[in-house]
Every structure is written in C-alpha cells, then in structure tokens.
Amino acid sequence: MTDRPLTKNIRPGQPPLDLKGYEKAGGYAAVRKALGGMAPKDVTQVIKDSNLRGRGGAGFPTGVKWSLVPIGPDAPRPKYLVVNADEMEPGTFKDRLLLEGDPHQLVEAVIVAAYAIEAETAYIFLRGEYILAAKLLMQAIAEARAAGYLGNNILGSGYNLDLHLHTSAGRYICGEETALLNSLEGKRATPRAKPPFPQISGLWGKPTIVNNVETLSNIPHILVNGPEWFKGLSHTPNGGTKLYGVSGKVKRPGVWELPMGTTVRELLEEHAGGMRDGLKLRGIIPGGASTDFLGEEHLDLQLDFDTVGKAGSRMGTGTMIILDDQTCPVGFVHSLIQFFAHESCGWCTPCREGLPWTEKILAALEAGQGEMADLDRLGKQVKFMAPGMTFCPLAPGAMSPLGSGIKRFREDFERHIREKRCPWR
C-alpha cells in the first residue's frame, strides 16, 4: 500500500502506463472487486465511509452525492456519469497531471463510479486545450474496451457501460456542473436553476453525477484498500491525499501529492523551495482564482476544506498563487477580475454587467486614474455579487479575491489614488 495513491504510477518525462503496465501495477482490481459481487449501494457506502470530499473546489462529500441518485429497478433510466475535466480555474494545474500521467486510473474510476450509480453511459468532459490528454484518454478507452472493461457484459457481470470523450469548445463556466450538462447537450453553457439537482434531473433530464478528475481518481484506491486506510493518509479528518500546487515567484513552482492537511509553510518552503531570493511573501490565493486572500499569518494553517474555511477562505482546488512584494496587488486583482469579466456567461445581470464595470474601475485604479470613491464602488459591487445574489457561483467567486484584497491591501489601493500612478511601475 502506498501513501501517494494518485501519483504512484506517474513517471515524469515518460509516457503513462498502458493497459498491461497498469494491470501489472495492480490496476483494474477495483473494477473486479466492485463488479465481482458488490452491490452498487455497497460501493457507495465504502466511499461514504472514506470521507472523500469533492476535489473540484466545493468539497461536497462524494458518497453523499452518489447516494442521492435513485437506485434499483424503478429508478429512471438511462443514468449518466460525467467526469468534469474542464480544468480552467486560473492557477490550477492539477487534473492535467492525472489525465496525462495515468489515464487508466481515471478510466477505472469511471467504471466503478458508474457502477455505483448504475449508469450505462459516461462522458469525460475535457478541456479543449488539453490535446495530449485527449490523445492519451482515447488510447486508454480503446485499450479498456478491447480488454472487456468497457462495453456490454463487463467481465461477465451483466453490467454494461459506454464511455465517451467530449472535447469542450472552451468556456470557464463549463466547470459549473449544470452549465457543463447544457454544453454536453450541444447548447450554450449557461447554468441551470437548482433544484432540481443533477442527481435527480441532469443530462437530458435524467439522473446524473458530475465528479472532478481528482475526486474520481481516488475511488479505485479506496475500494481496494478500504476507507480506514484512506482516512489514515490524511493529517486531518478530511480523508486522503491532495494534489497541492504552488505558482508565482517561488523557486520551484509545481504540483505535488501530499497528505490532506499539509501546512502552507511545508508546501511553500519544503516543496516549492521558498520565495525567490530577495522577494517577500505578501499574499496567498489558496485554491485557484475564486478564493479569498490569506497572508503570512496563515503559514501554519493546515490546508483542508474545514480548516481553511474557518480561516475565512476556501481550499478550493488546492493550487495556490503566491503574491510577492514586487508584484502590484492592484494589478494582481485586476488580472483576476479581467478573467472573470471575460468568462461571465451573460445569463444573469449582476454578473454580466457587474463584472465588466468592476474591471473598468480596477483598470482605472491600476493606471493611477482612480478616486477614493472608487473603493466604495468596488465595495458595493462585492455586496451586489455576494453569494445568493447571482444565478451561479461565478461572480461570488470573483468577489472573493476582490473583497479580501481591498481589505488586505487597502494601503496599496490608496497609494495608487494618492500618487496617481502605480508605485510598482
């Protein structure tokens, strides 16, 4: 048993394991175990017991999500499993590692997860830019099909599953699960009203589970090694390992699989090698663009869903962006909001109109053309686009770094106004 289950087969600089290599490394044992005698509900129960939480950013318990799907002979059919591989959050580069490094792990996970919810069709919704991942996944799916892990009557169990790869045409909002479903149906990716939740009425109105790549990749290991082993991997009650990433002006930016609950300090100093010489840490966006700033006082914070939540931010995707003292915080926040303004899908008014206005105010501030009243205007936008004011979490996500950024770097914002220029330029 390994303490790095997700990345144990990944060999940097080398192509991923093919079917034979993957089987030799213990692969597809979870499929044999699940289909060889476990009832779908039992699989879900194991995942529930493991305390696995969604790695896409929200941290919702995976087993609970699955258990909301109607099961049994009376359940509506067909049912669908969808893999959310539309990794597009700025600063997030973890799913790419799993997709390119061990595609069979994901295919195996899909089979087990689809079996647990009795789905007969599964889709991988892949980001269009991930061309290498698309090629490797197609190969892995073809190999698995030829070996009888996909198709009709898998391993003689009577269970049928088809797996398709869909390449996205590129839009950040596709990462929101209901928008993703609209996109799979060939429509514009605008979010749907919840409820009904996809577990009841998802793709083409049928029960559907949407799970992130990293979440699913954990499934085979939990099934083979058991929920207690999985919980034991973690430093905190949130089970398992986590792919953590660091980008920004650190010595060795990258992504590593570490026990859940690893501290910011260990990540930054041991794995990323610390800040580049002569630079000081000023702020941390802990989990992709749509999370609140943390600072130096949070270096000993254990990164898991609950602990980071209590500190006033979110762990999100666990891939952090580091702000240093030679980068302008106003420009940093402006760059984040530019992204969100560009990616607003236009479905609801506060987001469609509010984000471009926010972006304009920030552009003026960064260029030294702002006024003090602009800070209040930005504060109002943060309130107008708070959770619950918009149709989906895109705009509230955008407001997280803005609201916390204004608080944390107020002096820097004011200097831009007083000096009528950017002090970093």
Binding site: P90, G91, A169
Partner: protein, 167 residues
C-alpha cells in the same frame, strides 16, 4: 411521424472533399442536435474557421435553428468566424503568468507586428491570441505556438519563435 424526420440531410454547400469529414461526424451522432459542438469542431478542424455557409449547413443538417447555431458558435472561445493566419501564437494572460511578466511578451508582439489579440497580420502569416490560464502555471509565463506549449517565455523567446515563421 413528422415528415421532416424522414427527409435526407441536405447536400453539402460544395463539392469540397472536406465536407465529407463533417458529414461523417454528424452521421456518427445520428444527426442528433446534441452533436452541434462536435460538428462545429469538425468544421473548424477541416476549414480553419466557421463561415455563414457552414453554419447554415450544420443548422439544416442537425435541424437546429440557425440562431442557436450562431449562439453556440459565438459563445465558445475556441470557435472563430474569421479565417486564421498560417501560424498562431497564443499567449497566456492568466494570473500566474501575469505575475511572471506575460504582459511584456504580449506588448512585444503587438509592437513589432502591429496587431492586437484576435487579429491576423496583413500577410496572413500570424494570428495573435490570448488565453486565460492554460493549466501550465508551474511553467509560467506560458504560450502555445502552433499547438506546442512553450514554457518560461521571455520577449526574446517569443520573438524568436515567431521569426521562424516569417518569410
């Protein structure tokens, strides 16, 4: 049964062989309306962009209103209604790349070739595009040159790559 369900799909707009690739994609999905995005991927792969003729043909073949086809074509970033140059340079302007100076790289290309993101040079040699996070933040600032991801870009590196394409 509604009579249009029995109708044959319309003939392609021209005898261009590339329409066969598009037709094959639609056939694979049984001409279902949900194949819209996959079909437009096929059109763009074959022709490089989506023109009105193509949009009308796809709409008629999949029996989807032209308005929805146009809506989808303009919604997704990957689809383009304008022909692209022979070579494309995509520079990432995501936040990790911003910190590492991606704006300098962009300014260098804009200045030298007098184009803005989304434009193509007059000789059709180069299209400049920007992306918002390529998922390569560990390699920031990153870019894509004709489909190849290149890491740790500097203005010199970018100009050097582009110069190879120029006559």
């Amino acid at each position: 049964m509604l009579s249009y369900l029995l109708k044959q799909p319309p003939a392609p707009p021209s005898g261009d062989k590339r329409w066969k690739l598009v037709g094959a994609t639609m056939r694979r999905y049984g001409y279902e309306s949900y194949a819209l995005i996959e079909t437009m991927h096929a059109v763009q792969e074959a022709f490089g962009f989506l023109d009105e003729e193509a949009l009308r043909f796809v709409a008629a073949s999949l029996r989807v209103p032209l308005s929805r086809v146009y809506g989808v074509a303009t919604f997704y970033h990957y689809f383009t209604l304008k022909p692209q140059g022979r070579h494309t340079c995509v520079l990432c302007t995501g936040t990790a790349c911003y910190i590492k100076g991606s704006s300098k790289n962009l300014a260098a290309v804009e200045d030298k070739y007098k184009i803005k993101p989304g434009d193509t040079t007059k000789d059709d040699n180069l299209s400049l595009l920007t992306a918002r996070c390529l998922g390569s933040c560990g390699l920031a600032p990153a870019g894509v040159f004709d489909g190849e991801v290149v890491a740790k870009l500097t203005p010199d590196l970018v100009m050097g790559r582009i110069a190879r394409w120029m006559p």
